[in-house]
Subunit: 479 residues, 2 copies
């Protein structure tokens, strides 16, 4: 049984579900009636649809995107930070409230819940960025597998493994794993804010549902930490090394695969680039257009290049667009990245695109917009594989053109991405196969309790041995 | 290049070396002229022999064994503990001094060192329970791979990964991963003692060698933490789950393999047991005999059983020995454990034997003597697969006979061991293949720096964010 999330998270989950289906598993998906991405019954899964009034959809994302770009371009960094942290918290809570209403409607439907109980599922697979799957697994008393990078707020890693904030950069901090004192201060402040946000959302929404439907003494955070396996959508070619746990399995890049041949018209366009090669640009699923002045600046920069350009862009045709640039509504991104003529990828820094760039070893000029995109791209920049721009400077002083020319002419960018590609591909098992192995492991053994510590059930003062240290200090003083 | 350790550690390393040889790698071993286990040139490795006066040998082990059994049988637990902790520290330092002398002799031989530098090895493989390989890797500037469970003192895990002492039992504490308050106090005290012992041995021996041969600013502990890959000789079927790091690879049970047919005389003896089956007993490589009264008690207990018994024992034939018991000098332990007629394994709790018992799913009666043996067996007992005896009570009140009869008649022991066996065997890749993959990974990429945090280079107050918390508290107070 799968309790998925909308948007780009669903795109990832879908790949896993198709692979599970091809191994003969029967899949049932819980979706709400206003689901944005998750279609009704499909050839490889069944759906159970719960009627809701409102759902997480384009409206929330558009609001976030528009406001973020506006603030990023028009404000001081501090104002931008305050807006991100506090101004958007309302939108964030509102989005989780739609999830809460969906989960409550589901648990209220007693016939549905009886059917689910009778169906004897092997496990619940969920993305814990929303809390619904966690509550459902407990209600049905089923093993729980996460397809995870983010929790309700903050990274999954920070909750499941010991995570010294001194060298683990908090998303949004713009820090790497090597920080100055004041970077560490900023990291700590952001960590505390994220934890408070998570605590508030859990308290306002998910804990109430636990109390109502699961009975007393079901702490939502403990239910979350009780998951059998965390399939973590990173690997340590992309992510900075950090402590981990035995039940965390790294599947970063599981969506990557060798390039297929391009459609004929694209192949012809690519070949027409001659020795100069091709640049591709995409700002992801959600961002299909940009403010007109920014689009014009980008188009003008592309027009000055000898390369051909394929640009995924749905907005009005920029006035400055050159003959070398092809605007497309959609492009086979993975197949293009794997094409030998592709010299450069202008990317927004979503996880999928960054992983595909690593897999194919293509250097990147990054134009991050929101969420984890800056931090994702920072990881490539740190390894010498990308150059980063910001929304508020991309259209000034030829920044965009200069960045592209630097990455095209300086060979180290490509060499570094090729090195990351070699490291990423040199694994004992393909990440998708690893994910399938561990999902099936949980089915075979009805969980993976032997890989999970129960340390999170200790009170914090015992976990950190504060009581023991005070006791020993007391004895020493007495003596 | 391999810098191995003597005794049972060598037996483990040797299995890895044979596998490396069979994959076409050339292996050179550094040994001392008085080496106890490590033979001169062999069909699958070359040796370089360094002349020494004294070496770690049977003498040290015999001293440890004799004193331990004597103290365990004759003293109060506190005296026994004090003896183990302080009384034997001299023997421990003396053993490491022989290693230090060996390493110094090696580094003093300038022609040898020049040859080693010219030989362009791909990596140094060592067991960091002795410090020689770590220093050698730095001297030759080579990538470093550990085949590890123990460091100079204490477990490798405790040094490389964040290890809350509140739920990670210290070896020798007799604790599990769930402890009462006073068990946690004991755990903390033992942890501190172990750390002090380690610090003293490093300071007295290995740091001096670093200062003399590697030049200033080469901290031995940092050189150790700089290893590329830690091949850890446990897995989480045997070991309690705990935090880990990306460059720690679990190879527990890599020495296990399916049983081969028994020699004819043993097969006939085993088959003669009929439906009752066979018990096997071994106290490991080092302990070939026991005090006469204890041996008599054990033999008398065996004589009362309907089972046949194969007992690896080199001491005088006990007077009470029954017709059903076969004394042998050596036995094919793995092949016997994999034989369907074997009902029970009386073991001392060395890692090899415990892993083989898990692999073949055979229940255990444990008679631990020293080192990690009690703690190893405790892990089986906790999972319901073993019954534990102690040296000071084994010969009283029919304890031995009762334990054997309980494990033979109560089916849960075998069922639990079979469950552990299923979990252990259900891995994406065989542990030996995993070890080979990561050794070759380090060869292919000249290290694995991307999997290693550099967090250990932070001062402790920064690592734990003490400075940041004090700063933020100061700011809050000022405001």
């Amino acid at each position: 049984m799968v309790f998925p999330i909308e948007g780009s998270h669903w795109i990832n989950m879908d790949i896993l579900l198709q692979a599970l289906h091809s191994r003969g598993h029967a899949i049932t998906i819980l979706r709400c009636s206003k689901s944005w991405y998750i279609k009704d019954n499909n050839s490889y899964y069944n759906t159970i649809t719960v009627q809701v009034e409102k759902a997480f959809d384009q409206k929330f994302i558009t609001k976030i995107i528009t406001e973020t770009i506006e603030y990023e371009r028009g404000s001081l960094p501090l104002i931008h930070f305050l807006h991100l942290t506090f101004g958007m918290f309302g939108t964030f809570v509102e989005a989780h409230e739609t999830v809460g209403a969906f989960v409550s409607a589901m648990l209220d439907d007693q016939e549905l819940m009886r059917n689910l109980k009778d169906s004897k599922f092997d496990l619940v697979l969920t993305d814990p960025c929303w809390g619904g799957g966690i509550i459902l697994a407990k209600y049905l008393n089923l093993p729980l597998v996460f397809n995870v990078r983010w929790l309700i707020a903050g990274e999954g890693h920070l909750a499941v493994a010991p995570s010294p904030i001194s060298y683990i950069p908090i998303t949004g901090s713009g820090n790497t794993d090597k920080m100055s004192f004041f970077q560490r201060v900023k990291n700590m402040i952001l960590h505390l804010i994220t934890q408070i946000q998570k605590h508030l959302v859990v308290k306002l929404i998910y804990q109430k549902i636990c109390d109502k439907y699961l009975g007393p003494d079901n702490d939502f955070d403990l239910l979350m930490l009780n998951a059998d396996i965390w399939l973590m959508r990173v690997d340590f070619v992309f992510e900075y090394p950090r402590p981990t746990m035995p039940n965390v399995v790294y599947i970063g890049g599981f969506q990557c695969k060798p390039a297929k041949p391009l459609p004929q018209h694209l192949e012809e366009f690519v070949q027409s680039s001659g020795e100069h090669g091709v640049i591709i640009m995409s700002l992801g699923t959600f961002v299909s257009e940009l403010p007109a002045d920014m689009a014009n600046e980008i188009a003008a920069a592309f027009a000055k290049l000898p390369q051909k350009v394929i640009w995924r862009y749905k907005g009005d045709r920029p006035a400055t667009l050159g003959n070398n640039t092809l605007l497309v509504d959609w492009m086979p991104q993975n197949d293009l990245l794997g094409h030998p003529k592709i010299k450069l990828f202008v990317a927004h820094g979503g996880t999928n695109g960054v992983q595909e760039a690593i897999y194919h070893g293509v250097p990147v000029v990054g134009l991050p917009l929101f969420f984890d995109q800056y931090d994702n791209l920072l990881r490539l920049k740190e390894r010498g594989g990308a150059k980063l721009l910001t929304v508020n400077t991309v259209d000034k002083d030829n920044n965009f053109l200069n960045a592209i020319e630097e990455v095209l002419t300086e060979p180290s960018y490509r060499m570094n991405m090729q090195r990351l590609s070699r490291l990423h591909r040199d694994q004992p098992m393909k990440p998708l196969d690893t994910a399938l192995f561990w999902i099936e492991f949980v089915m075979r053994h009805k969980g993976a309790a032997h890989l999970r510590t129960e340390s999170y059930k200790l009170p914090w003062y015992s976990y950190h041995s504060v009581d023991v240290v005070l006791f020993l200090a007391g004895v020493a003083l007495l003596m």
